[in-house]
Symmetry: C2
Subunit: 149 residues, 2 copies
């Protein structure tokens, strides 16, 4: 097992993962009845926000609209980051050229022009990152929306 | 993009992933208030059941005890399987030698003897598997607990 990283290294590694071309993220949401949902989606990291693009009628979009919250999993399971996020805004894909351009620049597809699709702009509130068990200590990188490092 | 696989190939690939040494799984659960939770955990695949081992006091275990349901994500995000599962039983780690041995044989750790840990035996009810967009058709491999292939 490699030596544990400090928080600054974990943040740098996480930002690299979040801004990588064709990055993906696991998006966990829940219905108001407490039924969990989970899907992988393309991710763009724009101005310290996680941005996903999806059909406004999808279960993930409906759960997020109702609850305002999701939990994102990034990276392979042994080099993981978990982001608790709050829905900041929902933007039809042709309504915000800046987001549209930034999303298309990072993702490997471009949802602009796709009927019924929206960008969901997700604001992280808590972020944890660790690789193996020796990194469980010090895994909280953001709390209450503020970076700890 | 490679040619889409048929259902039989997807099932074979999925079983290989589920039975691989040191397999991991993303476990999405939800509280009764609809707050999503997501963690990566080690997985064992025993008698057509997904078995995870965790602290009975963890949020994932408490959510599963309350709701009886979870959604599991397996594989990298571009070679994914999603398993909707029902909690079949919860077994203290020293109470079932057969599960204990099978779990330890597949996972890269052995929870036996760890105070407060349980095996959660999860029965799949619905399974989907796809790689890229050309595999979205035919992605359902199990429905209502029965393999379609």
């Amino acid at each position: 097992m490699p030596e544990p990283r400090d928080r600054a290294s974990r943040k740098a590694d996480l930002i690299a993962a979040l801004t990588a071309a064709a990055a993906d993220v696991w998006v966990a949401t829940a219905s108001s009845e407490g039924v969990p949902h989970l899907v992988p989606l393309s991710l763009a990291w724009i101005d310290d926000r996680a941005v996903i693009a999806l059909d406004v009628a999808s279960l993930t979009a409906r759960n997020l609209a109702a609850s305002g919250t999701a939990r994102l999993g990034v990276g392979p399971t042994r080099d993981v980051a978990l982001l608790d996020v709050a829905l900041e805004r929902s933007v039809p894909v042709d309504d915000d050229p800046a987001i549209g351009a930034a999303y298309a620049a990072q993702a490997d597809w471009d949802p602009r022009g796709v009927d019924g699709y929206v960008y969901l702009v997700l604001r992280p509130t808590r972020i944890q990152a660790w690789r193996e068990s020796n990194e469980l200590t010090g895994r909280v990188l953001m709390r209450d929306g503020s970076w700890l490092v």
